[in-house]
């Protein structure tokens, strides 16, 4: 039922279904209609035009009534097409189930044969069969059905293989049921939906194919005519009397188009990926729909300053507030850590800076991002692009997915350079080698010609860092760059980043869920929860005296080497869903100190100097920390 509503929601599919039903209905009632005999010739009235007296669609080259011939031809074409689909499905499914159920040598032998048949362009096989059996509609039907058997066999086998080792089949086997019984009662009912779908996608094609064979004169023989042979017979008079060709041709088009529309609708309704709209492509820059006033830049030292940034995901009627008003800033040579659980909005915050949040569904709905004093939210795409990678560069998690799998790492580096600097290829290559050396990739001269899959995870991440450094940016935003790496490699990468920022004076925004990493690298830290910053301050101060209950619980989760036997406290509960945030503190439901006041209204992020916390029951008195 749900399937039907989904199908009807797709207007095109519904239209296709209605047209197809009409045609089928018309074909069914054709014998009952007051039509002329389709086979009675009347040479005196040849080639009458449509609208002629007594002949609604005119007459053909033998003076036969075209409307009657069209409807009888449609009947025949539909019948043959459906029959061919049925036989192909029946034999294909039988072969597929046997191969999939018995497996082993039977499977191997059958599938080899099927592959062999698929090595033919289908028409050759069909022609060979018709050549052997002789022209005729039944033989054309056999040929079209036979040609499609491999397709069904292959699909059904795949499904059956999956089923053959399911528990319920094993159970039936253990219960002593015979193979035939198991196939008929356990396998077949589960395979039938697949058969039906495969039929619905191929039936239009089979109608086309039988019509094609008839068109060639190899299918239905006179005086009997399906749509294909009507078209074939009319071809001789194409130029003098085109209507005799157009009438059957248009009918084939209408039928096949109806089937295709319906089939697409069926497929879309059954494919959950299409349903959720997950197959939408992200636009080059995040959509901006900024409401309210634009906050000013705040104090001017920072190279990058986020002010009240809000980014949401709009999925159907739901609004997920991934980033709910975040203030962050980072000065040249400074490293800011942004920490939080997965889903806290830290990555979305980072991607919002350069408009890289996938959109749809992402939308930046408020706030500002100041880079060197200029607001980038809503900046023209071309301007944003010129800053990307040149002034603000990213390092992403999981370099296997973030590097292009089919380009050599050197080419990806060279591209990063040449996008922003008009240097020659050889110069860019020399630069790329230097970058690889700088991130300590051994044998940089030869590794530059490697593909990402030929490198280890640590090496790939170094390539990612080299790419971020390619244009000597002002800011690097590193989104969990070490999460996928083992501990020793992680330590190397961190010290590399630390060195680079001291050498080059670049500002780093380091996103992580790991306090150990923050302690090692960051001057300041901001803790995020449910899309907002709940605590911020110099790393030392936050680590030593966490003020927000969430921060202290997060720190308690980190095991300490040589720290003795200590209970590792997991935080009970889950982070809240950001599409239905309650007023007040988002952490309150998981917090031991939560009181009624916590749930009342917005709590400000307050504190002296560089320290601030968003809590009315802080764990510790805030002291003005020093960076």
């Amino acid at each position: 039922m749900q399937f039907l509503t989904l199908l009807m929601r797709n207007r095109l599919a519904a239209a296709g279904g209605i047209v197809l039903s009409l045609v089928v209905l018309l074909a069914l009632v054709t014998p009952l209609l007051p039509l002329a005999n389709p086979d009675v010739t009347d040479t005196a009235n040849r080639f009458l035009m449509p609208g002629a007296q007594g002949h609604l669609l005119g007459t053909d080259h033998l003076g036969r009534d075209l409307l009657a011939r069209l409807l009888h031809g449609t009947r025949l074409s539909l019948a043959v097409g459906f029959a061919a689909a049925f036989f192909a499905a029946f034999f294909g499914a039988a072969i597929g189930i046997i191969a999939g159920y018995f497996g082993g040598r039977t499977d191997n032998l059958i599938m080899r044969g099927v592959d062999m048949l698929m090595a033919f362009p289908y028409i050759l096989l069909a022609l060979a069969i018709v050549a052997a059996l002789g022209p005729g509609l039944t033989n054309a039907l056999i040929a079209v059905a036979a040609v499609n058997i491999p397709f069904f066999a292959r699909n059904i086998r795949g499904v059956t293989v999956g089923l053959a080792h399911k528990e319920f089949v094993d159970a039936a086997r253990l219960a002593g049921l015979g193979h035939t019984r198991i196939i008929l009662t356990e396998i077949l009912p589960n395979v039938i939906p697949v058969i039906v779908i495969a039929m619905s996608t191929t039936i239009g094609w089979m109608i086309l194919e039988t019509a094609g064979l008839s068109f060639l004169g190899l299918g239905s023989q006179p005086p009997q005519a399906d749509l294909g042979s009507m078209l074939g017979e009319a071809r001789g008079a194409l130029i003098t009397n085109p209507h005799t060709s157009i009438v059957p041709g248009a009918m084939i088009l209408v039928i096949v188009m109806g089937i295709n529309l319906l089939g697409d609708g069926v497929r879309d309704a059954l494919d959950p990926r299409l349903r959720s709209g997950a197959l939408t492509r992200p636009m080059p820059a995040t959509r901006v729909e900024r409401k309210g006033t634009i906050p000013d830049q705040g104090d001017g030292e920072a190279v990058l300053s986020l002010r009240q940034l809000q980014t949401q995901f709009h999925v159907k009627n739901r609004i997920y507030k991934a980033v709910g008003g975040v203030d962050l800033k980072v000065a040249p040579g400074e490293c800011l850590g942004v920490i939080g659980e997965s889903g806290s909005g830290k990555s979305v915050t980072a991607l919002s800076v350069m408009g890289l949040v996938a959109s749809p569904p992402g939308v930046i709905t408020g706030g500002a991002v100041y880079f060197q004093g200029e607001d980038l939210v809503g900046a023209p795409y071309e301007h944003l692009r010129s800053l990307r990678g040149d002034k603000v560069a990213y390092i992403f998690q999981d370099p296997l997915a973030t590097l292009h799998p089919l380009y050599k790492v050197g080419d990806q580096l060279i591209e990063a350079i040449r996008v922003h600097h008009p240097v020659g290829r050889s110069e860019a290559r020399a630069r790329a080698v230097a970058l690889l050396k700088q991130v300590r990739i051994p044998n940089a001269e030869s590794r530059i010609d490697s593909y990402p899959h030929e490198m280890s995870g640590g090496m790939r991440q170094r390539v990612g860092i080299a790419m971020a450094l390619a244009n000597d940016p002002e800011v690097i935003i590193a989104d969990e760059p070490t999460t996928a790496l083992d501990v020793t490699v992680q330590a190397q990468i961190l010290s590399l980043l630390d060195e680079l920022r001291r050498e080059r004076g670049l500002a780093i925004v380091f996103i992580t869920h790991d306090f150990g990493v923050v302690a090692q690298l960051c001057d300041r830290v901001a803790v995020m929860y449910a899309g907002r910053i709940v605590e911020t301050g110099p790393t030392e101060a936050v680590l030593n005296a966490p003020a927000h209950p969430y921060t202290s619980r997060l720190i308690a989760c980190v095991p300490e080497l040589g720290g003795g036997r200590r209970r590792l406290e997991a935080i009970p509960g889950l982070p809240p869903a950001v599409d239905r945030l309650e007023p007040g503190c988002a952490f309150a439901p998981r917090c031991l100190k939560a009181s009624a006041a916590c749930r009342e209204g917005d709590i400000a992020l307050e504190g002296p100097g560089m320290r601030a916390v968003r809590c009315i029951h802080p764990e510790a008195e805030l002291e003005e920390g020093v960076a």
């Binding site: 090595a119 362009p121 096989l125 094609g212 130029i239 041709g249 991607l351 692009r385 292009h404």
Partner: protein, 315 residues
């Protein structure tokens, strides 16, 4: 790479043998006495015996297969009785015409289909996407032979842009321009369905790829959107598109049979249909085996192209 090509060629041997077995068995199915079918009214006992001897039909089935196979390997596909000409000569002549038609169509459907798919994906839900989606639906629903006939009516009869049919002018034609002029309509008519299929597939392959992390990386580097789409994304999407191009080549080759009928193109498809109607079994057998073998080899070329494109495939 050479090793890989050799390996793929070797693996084609059983497929090619399988094709000959299948064709042979189908032809052996012919009910009644083929000699009678061929000779019709001329079926005197002497003639029947001669035909049976010529066709090797007096030997047992297995022996007949190996004789036939052995002859083919030496390039002897037998003699067409309806044309009174060696089968291989006729097939080669006709196949070159088909190759010109189908090859042009294949190039067209590849270029147009991929371009349409990429534009459609890059402008998802925009007017270009909707227009292309509708055109594609129309393209895959229209029978190519009907489309061909309509093109003749519009572009040859009404507008007189192109000749109605044939491959060259009857007198004084045959130059490059003449053949090209004759080729335009059939090549387009043949390409339409395959273009639709390729466009559809390219669109979904592109949509899949455009969501990948490495596309975000390219954008984060500041790569221009045109290059992101036509470079980074298309390059990765091609890995999914190329195998389908191999399958489409089979569809183009198949569709060529109808188009050759409509446009009177002197190709192998029309030859096969004529041969079937005249019960010229050797010509059918030879034509089918030859074209199928070419198709198998073409698919090996597709595999090789795929391995060149995707360094992750072990060669």
């Amino acid at each position: 790479m050479t090793g890989y090509i050799l390996k793929r060629l070797l693996s084609a041997v059983p497929v090619l043998l399988g094709i000959t077995v299948i064709v042979f068995l189908i032809m052996a199915l012919i009910p009644g006495d083929p000699a009678l079918a061929i000779l019709g009214a001329y079926a005197t006992p002497e003639n029947v015996a001669k035909i049976n001897r010529d066709l090797g039909l007096d030997a047992p089935l297995v022996a007949r297969y190996f004789i036939w196979l052995g002859n083919m390997l030496t390039g002897d596909f037998g003699t067409s009785f309806s044309l009174n000409r060696p089968v291989i000569d006729e097939v080669l002549d006709r196949f070159s015409a088909t190759l010109l038609l189908a090859g042009t169509s294949f190039l067209l459907c590849t270029l147009l289909g991929i371009a349409a798919g990429v534009i459609s994906a890059a402008k998802q839900y925009g007017w270009a996407d909707k227009g292309i989606t509708f055109a594609v639906l129309l393209g895959i629903s229209i029978p190519s032979f009907f489309l061909g006939m309509m093109m003749i009516l519009i572009f040859a009869v009404e507008l007189r842009w192109f000749p109605v049919s044939g491959m060259k002018m009857a007198y004084g034609g045959g130059g490059f321009a003449d053949v090209a002029n004759h080729l335009v309509m059939p090549a387009f008519a043949l390409a339409v369905v395959a273009t639709g299929v390729v466009a559809r597939l390219s669109r979904s392959a592109m949509l899949e790829v455009l969501r990948q992390d490495f596309i975000r990386t390219a954008r984060a580097k500041g790569v221009r959107e045109g290059r992101v789409v036509w470079g980074h994304a298309l390059r990765a999407a091609m890995v999914g598109i190329i195998p389908v191009l191999g399958i489409q080549a089979g569809f183009v080759l198949s569709g060529a049979v109808y188009i050759e009928m409509v446009f009177q193109w002197p190709g192998v498809g029309r030859m096969l249909v004529d041969a079937i109607l005249k019960r010229d079994i050797l010509l059918v057998q030879g034509g089918v085996v030859f074209v199928a073998a070419c198709y198998v080899l073409f698919n090996i070329a597709v595999d090789v192209a795929q391995s060149l494109l995707d360094p992750r495939i072990k060669t």
